[in-house]
């Protein structure tokens, strides 16, 4: 009897170990297969960057070499100073930064005020205003593009940065939506207690709500800054004086005038891409949270 039990136990242990081993082998095969598809995908996603970087350091004769040259030798660093000189990179960068920073400050201030009104102050019209806000997200930009151009033309603002900055001081629908969602997660009791203590709304806004919302505000700031840094169609519509061009527009115009000077163009491309990528690496968490936040209430 005892022998039988022992035998059964041994058999069980043996089977169990086998099962575990199978499971482990299956796990290894599975993760190998997964990496075997994720790595080529990563390579494909990286390839244009690598090619951009590689070309930015190449002499002309190697652009179309076959087999392709990934690491040029010697490295032609002169493409970078050339790009800076011929594309007037720093001028465009100054313009782009001015627009991006001013627009970001404006959108942060205005959107947070409006979101505060929608999320933290109970008043009759706020639901209607919120619905209108979300509705504008569905409106194609082409619908408002032409009348806005006419308005700015009549104001004498065309060919200045004003049309690219001023509208952002009156709130951005997506950011209002985002901040409202965030502000609503802060307990209402905080506001009520502060009101009883005699704090007015402005005080509650800047001394309670804003400090508690730093992650959401950071998300808005980064999203807006990058959107303005990358913006192409806005400058294309409103800027015609080369002195005022942003980086995106300047590089495009250079390419359409002088054609395929790839070493120089890729050096410029690296230089406008790099700041965003650095920003991303420093603030990765904010980014990923922000993207998840915009997708929450599909």
């Amino acid at each position: 009897m005892a022998v039988k039990t022992q035998q059964a136990a041994q058999e069980f242990a043996h089977n169990h170990a086998r099962r575990l081993m199978f499971k482990r082998i299956r796990g290894v095969i599975r993760s190998t297969l997964i990496h075997a598809s994720l790595i080529p995908a990563a390579f494909v996603f990286m390839l244009p960057f690598m090619w951009m970087l590689s070309t930015s350091l190449k002499p002309d004769v190697q652009f179309y070499a076959y087999p392709p040259i990934l690491i040029p030798s010697p490295l032609q660093w002169s493409n970078y100073p050339d790009a800076v000189t011929f594309i007037t990179f720093f001028l465009y960068m100054r313009n782009t930064l001015t627009i991006a920073i001013l627009a970001t400050i404006g959108v942060l201030l205005s959107s947070s005020l409006v979101a505060y009104s929608l999320a933290r102050i109970p008043w009759a019209g706020r639901n209607l205003l919120f619905i209108l806000t979300v509705a504008t997200l569905m409106l194609p930009f082409q619908v408002t593009m032409i009348p806005l151009f006419i308005v700015f033309k009549n104001l004498g603002w065309v060919n200045s940065w004003l049309p690219l900055i001023v509208p952002h001081w009156f709130g951005g629908a997506l950011y209002i939506f985002l901040l409202r969602q965030f502000f609503m997660t802060i307990p209402m009791e905080l506001s009520e207690a502060a009101r009883i203590d005699g704090a007015n709304e402005l005080k509650i806004y800047y001394s309670i709500i804003l400090p508690l919302s730093k992650p959401a505000l950071a998300t808005v700031a980064i999203f807006e800054f990058i959107a303005r840094w990358r913006d192409y169609i806005g400058p294309l519509i409103y800027l015609s004086d080369q002195e005022q061009y942003t980086l995106s527009l300047g590089i495009y115009e250079y390419q359409s005038q002088y054609g395929a000077e790839w070493g120089l163009l890729m050096a410029a491309s690296v230089m406008i891409t790099l700041p965003i990528i650095l920003l991303f690496f420093f603030l990765q968490k904010t980014f990923v949270q922000g993207i998840a936040l915009t997708g929450i209430k599909g």
Partner: protein, 311 residues
């Protein structure tokens, strides 16, 4: 309001809580109320009006009734080409984006090493300024000699003509659009990480295999994300502008095969100064967007699964 007047006899006149909230609410919202009227509502109405006029942006608009709309459908082959191209792009690129983003997110969600590294690599292309993106693509896809032709050359061929001939230009753009699905991958991954483990455990108890778990647990729970992806990418595809514009210098080259709706609209407005005509195009686009989104929203109850209703 009645209570406000009742409180008047108080010695020191104070506004009721409700009135004070309304005043504060309006003051805080005032930038956006102004912005909404000036930058959204007025332009939308003005554009509707312009769409019935001949208007070059300088002289006063001339009322022409439905002439712009009639001309669009009966006398403008470029317009029809633009509609065809845009719909083509949407029809092929959106399902492909859903499949690839979902698939990559699924693999990332299997508890594997270096998940964050992969996620970062897949996301980075979406940050690249469109100018840099379009330029490097044009360079890589230079027919017969660009980087893309290298694998073809290895087999003695020189590969297709990519962006330079009408048959290949659009498929190439559909392919390229797959490069910028990083945001969607992150959304799907976030959705997958929210799937409650006990659902899978319960399925295991029922002896469900991998496929049936995928079909009956993973997919239903992710349908809200697919829904969100679908709505935003339809709008995105209909507004697709900067990349094809930069790649072709706004020409729709070759033979209008990359003439997207928004490029043709832009050209009408700012190159030909046909602002009325372009406004008619804008309104058609608006209506079309509304109809498509409405259909997606209506269909949602058939296929979108909301666990526990709210939230």
């Amino acid at each position: 309001m009645a209570t406000a007047s009742q409180s008047l006899p108080l010695p020191r006149r104070r506004l009721s809580q409700g009135t004070r909230h309304t005043i504060n609410g309006l003051i805080f919202a005032s930038p956006w109320i102004f912005g909404l009227v000036v930058f959204w509502i007025y332009p939308t109405l003005a554009s509707a009006y312009y769409s019935f006029t001949k208007y070059n942006g300088v002289r006063n608009p001339d009322w022409t009734g439905f002439a712009n709309y009639v001309r669009l459908f009966t006398d403008d082959e470029e317009f029809l080409a633009a509609v065809y191209n845009t719909v083509y792009f949407a029809v092929f690129s959106i399902p492909l984006a859903i499949i690839f983003a979902f698939g990559l997110a699924l693999m990332l969600n299997a508890k594997i090493r270096a998940q964050v590294v992969y996620r970062t690599i897949y996301f980075l292309p979406t940050l690249v300024p469109e100018v840099a993106l379009a330029l490097v693509w044009v360079f890589i896809f230079t027919p017969h000699s660009g980087l893309i032709s290298a694998p073809f050359r290895a087999f003695g061929s020189r590969g297709p003509c990519w962006l330079t001939c009408a048959d290949w230009a659009m498929p190439t753009l559909v392919l390229l659009a797959l490069w910028i699905i990083g945001q969607q991958i992150i959304l799907y991954l976030a959705g997958l990480q929210d799937v409650p483990q006990d659902l899978y455990d319960a399925a295991d108890v029922d002896g469900a295999n991998f496929l049936s778990k995928f079909r009956n647990v993973t997919v239903p729970i992710l349908t809200p994300v697919v829904f969100f992806h679908l709505v935003t990418s339809v709008i995105g595809a209909l507004n697709f502008f900067a990349i094809p514009y930069i790649m072709t210098g706004g020409t729709g080259f070759p033979a209008n095969s990359t003439l997207f709706y928004s490029i043709y609209l832009y050209k009408n407005a700012f190159h030909y100064l046909e602002m009325g005509y372009a406004s008619a195009m804008a309104w058609l686009l608006f209506m079309f967007t509304l109809v498509v989104t409405l259909i997606i929203f209506r269909s949602a109850r058939l296929w979108v699964f909301y666990a526990g209703g709210e939230d």
